[in-house]
Symmetry: C2
Subunit: 136 residues, 2 copies
């Protein structure tokens, strides 16, 4: 996995020397984790690994997401530089969403995670049943 | 990364032959993704990579989490078999939380993700500023 690069030290502010830390409440990386971590973000990023998507096709791919929620999700991912929104000027004009380079790297990590979850689902389902039985 | 094993086929129900798919609205793996995704679950799993934690120590480590939210998060992770809750019978008795084998594997994937986010934070912050400037 990639090492954590230390930030460049052009400025004198000593806080620049701090490495980002998702455990720190006010660290920007915590906010980035909030963008990436939710179910809909994860599914949208994974879908875009398959190729560019128009909004409605992406909505069909990510089963169960509402129009409003997908729009919010894509805005947040675009804002953090993980997804690119492009207006394709054919007639009729259309809007396509694709992964940026960083978005693709993050999606790759998420794929490792979801493949593990999918491959462990029998185990997880059994754990749930046992837990619920204990709780009566 | 691990391949997706096909489920065992003891039963005749043909749906047993389906591979888990997080994109499918009703797939159990989607529910598992909901448990694991989410800021507090991710941070709790990452903290537990460092070692076992008592509730209050874990709450201090995961800055900003409320008592109620951490309790809910740990219950969900325990239910899905990712976290183990153990009552240590010393006096006074204490409760310790640790990762299961599957929980540790998942946490490892999450560490790859968060290290990438932490290492890309300058890029993400710049993307956000540019986005906000465009939106006025």
């Amino acid at each position: 996995m990639s090492a954590v690069p230390t930030p460049s030290s052009d400025a004198i502010d000593p806080s620049d020397a701090l490495v980002a830390d998702v455990f720190a409440r006010n660290c920007d990386s915590r906010a980035a984790l909030e963008t990436v971590g939710g179910k809909w973000s994860i599914l949208a990023l994974l879908a875009l690994v398959e190729g560019d998507y128009r909004f409605n096709a992406l909505r069909r791919r990510v089963e169960g997401v509402s129009e409003k929620m997908l729009a919010q999700t894509l805005h947040a991912l675009e804002r953090d530089g993980l997804v690119q929104r492009e207006v394709v000027t054919v007639i009729p004009a259309r809007v396509e969403y694709s992964l940026t380079t960083l978005g693709a790297e993050i999606a790759e990590r998420l794929r490792g995670l979801t493949e593990l979850l999918e491959g462990s689902i029998d185990h997880i389902t059994a754990a749930r049943a046992a837990y619920d039985a204990r709780r009566g």
